[in-house]
């Protein structure tokens, strides 16, 4: 079932894209200013990353991020982590976990580096990135909205 919120989001987007300009009733124009999911997402529970002991090690966060996509957490340096969405920006397929430092989408073969940067299309946009905050004393990583 489609919730009213989802419907309004869809309406807002089509209006925003110009798809319905000229045909939409005034009521929907008002809805176009309703909140969308582009705002900050709620922070996820802190993740224990004590098991990521070497640069380049990664794991998939146990809880999905905003929008339902899994989050890949990569240790890049002693105190630096990347958290990227595992939803391919081409057509939304879940990407494979990294192999030899490269994240590959099984659907169409797009490739990304561990920071989410596009290495090979057809994807045009980098993987969505989440802000991270590392608590070195407790090995906890806090992942915030993209």
């Amino acid at each position: 079932m489609t919730t009213r919120r989802e419907f309004v989001r869809g309406a807002a987007r089509v209006l925003g894209s110009g798809g319905l300009l000229g045909t939409a009733p005034p009521l929907l124009a008002a809805c176009a200013r309703s909140p969308t999911d582009t705002g900050p997402a709620p922070a996820l529970a802190p993740l224990d990353v004590g098991d990521l002991t070497a640069d380049g090690q990664w794991r998939v966060a146990p809880a999905a991020g905003p929008g339902g996509a899994q989050i890949l957490v990569v240790r890049d340096a002693v105190d630096r982590f990347h958290a990227v969405s595992m939803r391919c920006t081409h057509e939304g397929c879940p990407v494979n976990p990294p192999a030899a430092g490269i994240i590959t989408c099984p659907c169409h073969g797009s490739q990304f580096d561990l920071t989410g940067k596009v290495l090979r299309g057809p994807a045009q946009y980098p993987l969505a990135r989440y802000q991270t905050q590392y608590d070195a004393g407790r090995h906890r990583l806090r992942i915030k909205g993209s």
Binding site: S85, C107, G109
Partner: protein, 348 residues
């Protein structure tokens, strides 16, 4: 006002003020081409082979399919945020092909890919590639009415000619899932294994054969739908002195269609910018036609005389005369053209 100005003004006004042209109400074949990276649909008139209009729909339309009567076009779209990121959801947009206006739209949960319409026009099916289900939409209610679990990453989809079965290929799996249209999967769900990620598919009118393109394959496979077994693998020709690479691209070939008389199969060889035409059912290669770059989809003209091939690498559409098996036009469209729908409309 000078005489010259009057004459110029009269000349300018004349076309608009003139009586309708006698051919204005004729029936015309129009081709609608979705341009995924342009966020619009190019409209091509088959009689002039010119782009006659553009419909804005927003970024990342993925498929466009006509209703059986040709009076509505159904377009699936992945919704993107301003920064280009997918929102994770999509929408099905209904468009009037005559007025080229959006009629209505339905938000979809998950990222939609391909669209198929039941022959009676009462159900529209959309695959959700980010999930594992096919969404069923009732166009009369303009609402999602059901979803059918088919397996990981449903991609291309076709409804059988008799409307009884729905075939969905899995791009993240290796099966074609077949479900009963009447019960929408409430009955038995059948899986046909292909051993590789499933790309575009075509089902014969009698539902005795299914032709399937697969990831990393320059060719297609044929399965017997009665036994569910692959009975043949057809390698597409490799032009000139080219040889297949050691590592095949994920999308090797994309786009395939059976002609309305069931006697020919048109298959894109996307790796080599060719279209290969085979006889059915014996699968003899009748010829190949060079097209633009990275051909992605095949759509037949309503009169059956031509097929259109979208070349997403060169942003154009090849028009192929099927009797002569040659390209008669290559028409520039929008950015990254992929799927197409051809309908007959009345009016100017």
């Amino acid at each position: 006002m000078s005489e010259l100005r009057k004459a110029l003004l009269a000349a300018l006004l004349m076309p608009a003020a003139a009586a309708p042209h006698p051919l204005a109400a004729q029936r015309r074949q129009l081709l609608f081409v979705e341009n995924t990276n342009g966020g619009d649909v190019s409209v091509i008139d088959d009689s002039t082979l010119q782009v006659v209009g553009t419909i804005r729909v927003g970024l990342s339309p993925d498929d466009i399919v006509p209703s059986p009567k040709g009076d509505v076009l159904y377009l699936s779209r992945m919704v993107r945020r301003d920064d280009g990121q997918l929102s994770g959801n999509g929408e099905l947009v209904a468009i009037n092909p005559t007025t080229r206006r959006v009629l209505w739209w339905v938000p979809l949960r998950g990222v939609p890919n391909h669209v198929a319409v039941a022959p009676d026009g009462r159900t529209v099916y959309v695959t959700i590639v980010s999930g594992s289900w096919v969404t069923a939409i009732d166009p009369a209610k303009r609402a999602v009415v059901d979803s059918v679990e088919v397996g990981s990453g449903p991609h291309d989809i076709e409804v059988s000619h008799d409307g009884r079965r729905v075939y969905a290929g899995l791009i993240r799996g290796t099966d074609v899932t077949v479900f009963d249209a009447a019960t929408r999967g409430g009955g038995a769900i059948r899986k046909i294994p292909f051993g590789e990620n499933v790309r575009p598919l075509a089902v014969s009118r009698e539902q005795d054969r299914i032709y399937v393109q697969l990831s990393r394959l320059h060719g297609f496979v044929v399965a017997d739908l009665r036994t569910g077994e692959v009975i043949r693998k057809v390698a597409l020709p490799v032009p000139g002195s080219s040889t297949l690479p050691d590592t095949m691209p994920v999308t090797a070939n994309h786009g395939m269609r059976i002609t309305a008389d069931g006697r020919q199969l048109i298959a894109n060889g996307s790796m080599y910018d060719i279209v290969a035409i085979y006889s059915l059912p014996d699968l003899q290669l009748l010829g190949t036609v060079p097209v633009g770059r990275d051909p992605n989809w095949v759509t037949l003209s309503p009169d059956g005389r031509r097929c259109y091939v979208s070349n997403r690498g060169s942003d154009d559409v090849s028009v192929i005369d099927l009797a002569g098996r040659k390209e008669v036009a290559r028409i520039k469209v929008g950015k990254y053209p992929q799927r197409m729908a051809a309908v007959v409309v009345s009016g100017k």
